[in-house]
């Protein structure tokens, strides 16, 4: 970085600005208003470059587009409020094709060619795991928004973080009490026969058992399957709840066929909205879901009790009350996950400012500053809700929403507590060398 020396003074002045900002944000949630706080000296240093590993093509493309929109909105909000440590933020986007091999190359490209300060934004687990070694070798902090349990499993490395979205193990654990108390005691799981499904297969039975309910059947469906009816006879007749977490383009088929199979005589349904992200809940064939329940990270539909921060976030990203793009009701967002991009970028901002981050030479300091974070208060920077962060396993834990499909909308009926989702750490990244 060219202006190392001049920068030192700048960061001092931003410290006071940050404190001021925090007060304003907490007070009215107005910090997002463009031009509200702007310091002219902020423009004088080179921008902080954030490498955004985006699923523009391949199976993750529907998510990638919304991750980009959300991140662009967050970057705009951060820049309008003075940037990070007084420096502008710039997103550098590369497509990873939702492919782990290409993902690793893209991380290398960010580190060595674009010389970005960090890498950010990956969703699909196999891309995260495939890219993690490249991030570790290049010693570039890698902030993912994936919801997978891979980061918290401590099987990756010290440079990988997931501070913006709760991992799936925690989500499952925090859902179980509600399912057992409200949906039913005898649960049949239907899940894709690959990693995302395995998290549910492995963690749900124990979580339900602790609540006095049980999983009576587990039906794994191969990832290549495009029709599902032939698996439904395996659902035991005494099933009270079908817990479904199918993902991918065939998921509408899954729901429609379930509807054809059961008609109106169906057990309770509980699903993860992952199945229907970017899909209109009012698509033909989905009437069957009326009255069923879904997990949502952040609610797709605007709720009556939405906080000012949530409203400001939705406006900034450009989604309407139905969770679709403003001006195009058919363009449904991936609301339950993409908030994680927004929040992760604010975590990066906080950690960089804490570390007094100046450039790539400070990456190790950034890692340590991130590990030192403990909690994130609900507010404009964390519109989904409050979170705690475990620096040893690089994972955050937040609240989860359970929503009911009612009149073609998703209505939040239960919010879990952070404590519901906490578990014993499986390892400790901080013991690894930097």
């Amino acid at each position: 970085m060219a202006d190392k020396n001049g920068f030192f003074d700048l960061s001092k002045s931003t410290l006071s600005r940050r404190t001021a900002l925090r007060g304003i944000a907490a007070g009215a949630g107005l910090a997002l208003a463009p031009g509200f706080v702007r310091y002219s000296q902020a423009q004088s240093s080179a921008p902080i470059k954030i490498g955004f590993q985006s699923h523009r093509t391949g199976i993750g493309a529907a998510y990638g587009r919304w991750y980009e929109k959300t991140s662009a909105a967050a970057v705009k909000a951060i820049n309008d409020a003075g940037g990070i440590g007084g420096r502008k933020v710039e997103l550098v986007i590369e497509d990873d094709g939702t492919d782990p091999a290409r993902g690793a190359e893209v991380v290398g490209k960010f580190a060595k060619q674009h010389k970005t300060d960090i890498v950010f934004g990956t969703l699909f687990s196999h891309v995260v795991i495939g890219s993690a070694p490249a991030a570790g070798e290049n010693k570039i902090p890698y902030f993912v928004v994936s919801e997978g349990h891979h980061v918290a499993s401590t099987k990756l490395n010290r440079y990988v973080f997931q501070p913006g979205i709760t991992d799936v193990k925690s989500q499952i654990q925090s859902m179980a009490p509600w399912i057992a108390a409200n949906a039913g005691k005898k649960v049949t799981q239907i899940f894709p026969d690959f990693a995302f499904g395995y998290d549910h297969r492995d963690y749900l039975p124990a979580a339900l058992k602790a609540q006095g309910a049980e999983v009576i059947a587990q039906i794994a469906i191969p990832p290549t399957e495009s029709s599902f009816t032939k698996y439904f006879p395996q659902i035991p007749a005494e099933t009270e709840v079908i817990y479904h977490v199918m993902v991918g383009p065939a998921v509408l088929t899954f729901v429609k066929e379930l509807g054809e199979f059961y008609g109106s005589q169906r057990p309770q349904l509980f699903g993860f909205i992952d199945s229907l992200e970017a899909v209109d809940i009012n698509s033909p064939g989905l009437e069957f879901l009326d009255g069923s329940h879904f997990w949502e990270g952040s609610p797709r539909y605007a709720q009556p009790d939405d906080s000012a921060a949530q409203k400001a976030y939705r406006a900034a990203v450009g989604i309407d009350d139905n969770g679709a793009a403003v001006g195009d009701p058919k363009d449904v967002s991936t609301a339950a996950h993409m908030f994680g991009c927004w929040e992760t970028l604010y975590v990066v901002k906080k950690a960089m400012e804490d570390a007094g981050y100046k450039g790539p030479e400070d990456r190790a300091k950034l890692v340590e500053a991130t590990e030192a974070l403990k909690e994130f208060a609900e507010g404009p920077e964390h519109p989904q809700g409050p979170k705690t962060f475990n620096g040893k396993i690089h994972q955050c834990f937040g609240i989860q929403n359970i929503s009911k499909v009612e009149g073609g909308k998703l209505k939040v009926v239960h919010k879990t507590k952070i404590e519901d989702g906490l578990y014993e750490p499986e390892g400790d990244y901080t013991t690894q060398a930097l």
Binding site: I59, A61, P222, K230, A250, L252, E260, F261, V279
Partner: protein
């Protein structure tokens, strides 16, 4: 559920898969058999059919059946046109060199996929079926539309068979398939036959896609599985054998469904694939193929 109904359900599901597979594979078989080229972009013509069906049916208001019928007519024609142009602009210039056409059709695959992603988007989108009728069996409910897909596919297969065996066009195609040089010597315009065959092959895939799209949605990556399965069907059935293609499609569609009744699904797929591969190892000419001359 008891074993009997379970098996019935698996068989019904298998038949739907077979019906769509038979049409798609027949298209590939024609291209493969007559032109002797491997069309890697065949699955993309399938995808294009589904995507166009979505575009057409959403553009037309009124009863869903009107949009669906319009899609069933227009989408295959458009796909046929695209295929015709591709043949005319690229494959012909390659002189149907087998290796060159593989690279060229991989290129087409990328182009069609990217265009679909750019103009249609990454989402899976449903098309409303022309009618919603749930057949209530004593043990479970079943989609009436799915049964009609089986029927429609059967009718289309019979029509194709009649065209191939009873008309002059069919005769010309078979002659070209049998021996290109001799056909040319007898004044058959081989180049026009090739262009036609390539277009018809793509249209058959598109028709199959329009039929399936009310059941499984249109998505820009949906072409890969039909491509692989069609290849398998064509080879198992025996190159250029219409009867073989249909029998193989039913065999593969049913085996996939029924084996999954007995084993865990991924294991079922492993076993089914191994069995079919072994059939081919010990009968490389396919079930109904004759040994190559």
């Amino acid at each position: 559920m008891h074993f009997g109904p379970h098996l019935l359900l698996a068989a019904l599901e298998g038949l739907v898969t077979s019906a769509v597979l038979a049409l798609t594979a027949l298209g590939l078989s024609l291209v493969f058999g007559v032109m002797r080229i491997v069309n890697v972009a065949h699955g993309e013509f399938f995808m294009l059919g589904a995507v166009l069906a979505w575009a057409i049916s959403t553009a037309i208001s009124g009863h869903p059946a009107i949009g669906f019928v319009a899609a069933l007519v227009i989408a295959p024609l458009l796909v046929g046109l695209v295929a015709f142009l591709a043949e005319w602009l690229v494959l012909r210039r390659l002189n149907y060199n087998p290796e060159g056409t593989i690279v060229a059709t991989i290129g087409m695959l990328y182009i069609i996929q990217q265009l679909a992603l750019t103009f249609y988007g990454p989402e899976a989108r449903p098309v409303e079926p022309p009618f919603n009728y749930r057949i209530l069996l004593p043990w479970f409910g079943y989609s009436g539309y799915k049964l009609s897909v089986i029927a429609a596919s059967a009718v289309l297969l019979v029509i194709t068979w009649l065209v191939l065996t009873r008309t002059k066009i069919g005769l010309i195609m078979r002659a070209t398939q049998y021996d290109r040089e001799t056909a040319q010597a007898f004044g058959i315009p081989v180049e026009r036959v090739y262009a036609g065959v390539f277009a018809i092959g793509a249209m058959l895939a598109a028709i199959a896609a329009v039929l399936i799209v009310p059941i499984s949605q249109a998505h820009y990556l949906m072409g890969q599985d039909p491509l692989l399965l069609s290849f398998i069907v064509v080879i198992i059935g025996g190159l250029g054998s219409l009867r073989g293609t249909v029998v193989a499609a039913i065999l593969i569609g049913l085996s996939d469904g029924i084996v999954s009744v007995f084993f865990s699904p991924t294991l079922a797929k492993i076993i089914a694939t191994l069995v079919v591969a072994m059939v081919l190892v010990f009968r490389p000419q396919g079930l109904f193929g004759t040994t190559p001359r």
